[in-house]
């Protein structure tokens, strides 16, 4: 993929250069006593450095997507605050933060390029600038030839690349990705992960990436924040010291396996806890399947 946004290599930033500061976030859904009451997050704090890729990983229902939505201003936390630069997040910050969602969030009634253009229109990019920027970001994800296709005509992997192009065209400093490859098969997500690593190593974006795949986390992240079971809080932050762009051979290295095992050990206990929780809440509520 040829990327024309900015051709600088990712540099390690001084620890003081923070992009996102999460401070004592707690969040609950519903009121205490409600049958739907869920305490999703408890007193979570996290610092995300400028230009790093931070993976959030944890058992399902631990609140990692909740935290992402709180950072993105799509959800107001019950208590605590998030600072992006020096601004406190009180709603979406389209000039600073772009999103790639897990589900297919492209508008099915518009073509790929119309989707990208719409995003820029919402953000307030002048009309004349939109078309070249859209072409450029579609080229960056290798979708130039599919600009006039409708999302329904693309494969799942291509749709997520189009969603990434839409986010890139917004030229924000921060990119939030909520299990962007979650719905794809193993092979496709490996290739997309590789491409993403190459693509992002050339930009200076700060990325927060939610995943439930250990391999994806180790392969992509500069640091991985491991969540505990509900109510979610950050158990440990593991640094992955490996320069970007990462090669597929990294995946078979001893280092990769060790890091993956470390993460697995940290997660294992939490996943057991989460499963017991969801089984218990199923019994209480008399329904199948816990909250996602």
């Amino acid at each position: 993929m040829n990327m024309q946004l900015r051709d600088e290599h990712r540099v390690t930033m001084a620890a003081g250069d923070l992009s996102i500061r999460v401070r004592n976030i707690s969040h609950q859904f519903g009121e205490e006593g409600d049958p739907q009451f869920v305490r999703a997050m408890l007193e979570t704090s996290l610092d995300i450095r400028r230009g790093e890729l931070m993976c959030l990983i944890g058992p399902s229902g631990c609140g990692k997507s909740t935290l992402l939505n709180i950072i993105g201003g799509l959800l107001t936390p019950t208590s605590g605050k998030v600072l992006v630069g020096d601004t406190e997040v009180r709603g979406p910050l389209p000039q600073k933060i772009a999103y790639v969602f897990q589900e297919n969030a492209l508008f099915p009634w518009s073509t790929v390029i119309e989707n990208v253009n719409l995003g820029m229109m919402f953000q307030g990019v002048p009309r004349a600038e939109r078309e070249p920027r859209a072409r450029q970001s579609l080229a960056a994800v290798g979708l130039s030839d599919f600009a006039d296709h409708y999302p329904g005509q693309l494969s799942g992997g291509m749709r997520q690349r189009a969603a990434l192009a839409r986010a890139l065209s917004l030229e924000t400093g921060i990119l939030l990705m909520d299990e962007p490859f979650g719905a794809l098969d193993e092979q496709t997500r490996m290739v997309l992960g590789e491409d993403l690593s190459v693509l992002l190593s050339r930009t200076q974006k700060t990325i927060v990436f939610v995943t439930h795949s250990l391999g994806e986390a180790v392969y992509l992240a500069d640091r991985v924040a491991v969540f505990s079971a509900r109510p979610g809080t950050i158990k440990e932050v593991i640094a992955i010291e490996e320069p970007h762009p990462r090669k597929p051979s990294f995946m078979t290295s001893e280092k990769f396996t060790q890091l993956r095992n470390t993460l697995f050990a940290l997660l294992h206990e939490e996943i057991r806890k989460a499963m017991e929780q969801s089984a218990a809440s199923d019994r209480v509520a008399g329904r199948k399947g816990g909250p996602a």
Partner: protein, 254 residues
Amino acid sequence: MNAQRDRSRLASRGVQIAFVVVLIAAWWIGTTVGKISPILLPNPRNVFDELVDVIWTLEFVGDLRVTLTELAIAFAISSISGVTLGYLISRSQYSMRVFEPLLAGIYSVPIILFLPLYILFFGLGPASKIALGVTTSFFPIILNTIAGFGYVERIFVMSARSMGASEYQLFRFVLLPAAAPIILSGLRIGFTVALLSILGSETIASLAGLGHRIVHLAEGMDTARMFAYIAFAVAIALMLNTVTSALEAKARRR
């Protein structure tokens, strides 16, 4: 593969045509060889001649104008009010919970039963037909509008908001296109039932219109001409339905 599909489509079209031919032949034989009274079932040849006469003399124009005017007014009222009110109701979860079951409940009532009431209110003229047409078509239109706007996937709204869409942009570029296909099928259903109920109510009690003409001819035992008018009304209804379906399909194209 394609040729095979074409051939099977051609075959089924052939069976359809054969079916109609057999039906008309049976009609023909029944009225010529058979001893069926022409007052009950006229000869197809006579019906055809009457139809040609109806069209050639432009006799149909007055009645067709009445029926189509009633339809146009009724559909304009029900589509504008149905879409507007449906949109307003879909704005809040609370009003959707209140109104959706209520409207669906009224929709299941046989609305033709209101006709005597409407004739009492509005008289025998077009007004009572318009009122009935509005009442029948309003419900499928408003219910589909609520369904269209009320159940837009949350992810579309979230992603538009995250990119900074204003309220107007959210409506124009997300809610409206997401809801359009469902609203359009509501409009098509509304149009069809409005036409049906207007023609039907004209046959029950009216002063003019295609339905009125058909009943008038039946009462005068002018059965062949009545059949000709029925065929004419069917052709008009088919044409209008084809046009609305084509418009819907065109607006839906993705």
